[in-house]
Symmetry: C2
Subunit: 524 residues, 2 copies
């Protein structure tokens, strides 16, 4: 397989006739061939029509068929070999180890959802048997299962060209749920997107699924994105990106004649709270670990620690000294796109030109598109007073908020918007304060972690990669981990259906052998 | 306890200083004393402040404390005795048996949620243990539980003055989840609302809970409703009512700086599909049963069968003859409010003046505010052509859509909007056609039932009282049954927390003894 510059609409390769876009070599800013002709509204219509057509046969496939399909996608991605890895490195500036690691993560996600499908409890099968003798009224036989919502629009992220993109977590969980997907490729990595798209397209063919299960569209502007979310055949949206972009899609979805759910992961500064005991015990050590997390991948993680909230004192001085020293040695790193680099420079400049903000350290300067790490400090009073300091700077910049005491730490937490993660660094002497802070932070975030940083997002059953607005558009969900499948499901109740008309999950004989809830009790 | 005309704000009784509203005797149209002074924005602010203040202590109560609180509310409602029953009968025109039955249902819901709380699996506790030896990277200890969203605004329904009102399903499930509630009483039954509110208020006191767990506000206009949904301390909304009202609240919630979920149950015409085998076998019998369901409670059920889709033939003629005959004997019944009565008359008049619609039968005429049942017929072609025929007429009016064949039945289903329920009447010879229809209907409704009518909504684990828009604002949810609690929860992940800082549900010792998912597998 090779990069051809085509939209993938069902099993067809379609040369888009709208203005083209090109991949850009992150390291040089040069165009990568070929160009990708933008999809037209007719192309979009065709993709949505195929998706709708595929929906019923696809959702009625057996659990095993669907699981095998997900596994086949993973195998096909691996088979793309260095063609994929090298194109992805060129388009994103990410190093080989990261790209290969992310490929492994992507395959792991697909395989996790294959296991989730096989296990079957995502269907939430429930049985409340008839009680014909009940007085004053008999009870009907009631059974419930989850069904997929319908075709899903997926928007790839710039910062995870594989794991949150064409065959990333949103697509994997939607396909696992039984939803066809129409992906709008992120313009930051079109070649990577097409290659992965080819792997999915081939898996559809190999598994003899209806072609509309998957389509991939390119667009140099916003027309396709907006029309996709507005299309009546689309029943849910997965998005990872900016707050502005996510809110725009939320508004389109809410204004439809039939509003649909949007799962947008948008913006987070991921506060790190340093408690006095921890600072006193190991302030310098935390400073070093913090800089490692901050600089990882040029700081281009949704969970990057963009804010440090700490109680002032000798321990904090140790933290600052150590973090500043470590940061001074951080090499500049190529950022994902020229646009992201410019935004980062703008964000850092805003902090530099804010009179209340004290610069602490800068990383080494770099070349084209290379982000220079930066660390700043501000007094809690000033932070509370200036809402601009709470905005995300996407990249390896962070701000230390110096607090006089725990009361002020809680005030700072109180003004924060919703976040993906919060980290607490503590020693046993901090437990009492930590208890109150955890209760505060729970209401602000999707994940709380102790003595670590949020940049590693494990793909697991107990993971929440989500959080209150604006971290995401829907705090009830996660975009990482097995729970992500629930975003694309809804319950349906079946009353007094003859066995022959019941779906397998609800038949008395339980042919899928799944765990079910009978009269409210789990039966394995 | 007695009706006093007060807003209930925490433990206080507050005479509202905005324009008053009165209960209206449904049977006579006369005012019932006392008047209820409307809540001011200051009253609302106080209720929301108390709710926010109560949230943390309330959500941290033990499962047993919360379960006992729900049971105590049920006991206190029963203790209101005939004071409640008679006031409710007067305000709604509903007969004693129905009011007493609904009171039992309301208590049953509260007790069901007490059992759901005790059982504990609503917390969805998950544990993925650390793998310190894993390569290339160790895995952290990850644990997940659901936490409540925050204070919830509840809007009582006109048609279920007890079961979908002050202490109805929305309040019961929100309180079970750990959310304080602020109820905006429906103006159709203020006295009933206040009495039930007193029962809840007393239970808060008796269980020594923070007073802000419950408040109840009255308003003769829309100011309080709108301000309540816009208030930043409110984190979710439960509503049962009209499409116009529900969509207005959805829009307010979506436009907030922090958008919040709205669970609005709004509009449904609940198609009943009559298949040829069933019609031939027992058309006349189905006609009688249909009229019983249609006329129940003056047709004032969300699940009232407002549309019949049937294949033409001798069987359908039998159905029509029998249904028309039965309908001709249906006594007019007092409707809930003069406004609902006027809307019903307007809806029936629209059908009568539609040249394509054929009147089949009318019930007996009645007196003040008494709705006269009505049955109409239209050809499928005309139904497909006229979207107005798909709008809900709230009351005991229904429309038979005569189809030439199953293909046309499917076309009619295809143009329907989202519905709460669909019923299929079939005999074994219809199974083949039914299979395709069930697949179609699944995508349109929350509940499919065979050889029955949707008007009985069992409070059970496998119930879905929900469905795609505009049946509800969020097809992923149900407002009846144990699953309703999930509307008010969101997951939080805890990484590497020491045992002492973990919530009970996630501690190794499992002090609550709840079922948990460990490494993805349910452990009871």
């Amino acid at each position: 397989m090779s990069v051809k510059g085509f939209n993938l609409i069902g099993q067809a390769e379609v040369a888009g006739s709208n203005p083209a876009l090109w991949g850009i070599a992150a390291a040089t800013g040069e165009r990568l061939e070929p160009g990708f002709g933008g999809a037209t509204l007719d192309d979009l219509d065709r993709a949505c029509a195929l998706a709708r057509e595929a929906f019923n046969p696809y959702r009625e496939t057996s659990l095993e068929t669907r699981a095998r399909f997900l596994e086949r996608i993973a195998e096909n991605i691996l088979e793309l070999g260095d063609t994929l890895v090298e194109r992805c490195m060129a388009e994103t500036g990410l190093p080989r180890a990261r790209v290969e690691g992310e490929r492994g993560r992507t395959m792991g996600q697909l395989r996790l959802f294959a296991s989730v499908v096989r296990e079957g409890s995502f269907q939430d099968a429930r049985i409340d048997r008839a009680m014909p003798e009940r007085t004053p009224l008999p009870r009907a036989d009631l059974r419930l299962r989850n069904i997929p919502l319908g075709p899903v629009a997926v928007f790839g992220a710039s910062n995870f060209p594989l794991a949150f993109s064409v065959a990333g977590g949103d697509s994997a969980s939607a396909l696992a749920a039984g939803c066809p997907v129409v992906v709008k490729a992120h313009s930051a990595h079109p070649g990577t997107s097409e290659l992965v798209g080819q792997a999915v397209q081939r898996a559809v063919r190999e598994c003899e699924l209806p072609e509309g299960v998957f389509s991939l569209l390119f667009d140099s502007g916003r027309e396709i994105a907006q029309a996709l979310v507005a299309d009546p055949r689309i029943k849910a949206v997965g998005f990872t990106g900016s707050r502005v972009g996510g809110v725009a899609l939320m508004n389109i979805a809410a204004a439809r004649p039939e509003p649909i759910p949007v799962y947008a992961e948008m913006s987070s500064i991921n506060p790190v709270v340093l408690l006095p005991g921890a600072l006193q015990e190991r302030g310098a050590q935390i400073g070093q670990a913090f800089v490692s997390s901050l600089a990882l991948g040029a700081g281009q993680f949704c969970t990057n620690p963009g804010l440090v909230i700490a109680v002032d004192g000798e321990g904090l001085q140790n933290f600052i000294r150590s973090a500043s020293e470590a940061l001074g040695k951080v090499a500049a790193q190529t950022m994902l796109t020229p646009g992201i680099y410019r935004s980062y420079c703008h964000g850092v400049h805003s902090l530099e030109s804010n009179a209340r903000v004290q610069p602490l350290a800068k990383g080494l300067a770099g070349g084209i598109n290379q982000g220079q790490a930066a660390l700043f400090m501000v007094a809690a009073e000033d932070f509370l007073d200036d809402y601009r300091l709470r905005e995300e700077v996407f990249g390896s910049s962070s701000l230390v908020v110096r607090c006089a005491n725990i009361v002020q730490v809680r005030q700072v937490i109180d003004v924060l918007e919703g976040q993906l993660t919060a980290a607490l660094h503590l020693s046993p002497s901090d437990h009492r304060a930590a208890r109150a802070l955890i209760a505060d932070l729970e209401l602000k975030v999707g994940r709380i972690l102790i003595n670590g940083f949020g940049t590693g997002v494990e793909v697991a059953h107990a993971m929440v990669h989500g959080g209150p607005f604006p971290a995401t558009s829907d705090s009830r969900t996660t975009s990482v981990g097995s729970l992500a499948i629930e975003r694309f499901l809804r319950p349906v109740s079946y009353q007094d259906l003859p066995q022959a008309l019941l779906p397998p999950a609800l038949q008395d004989s339980n042919p899928e052998g799944i765990a079910r809830r009978v009269e409210g009790q789990m039966v394995l």
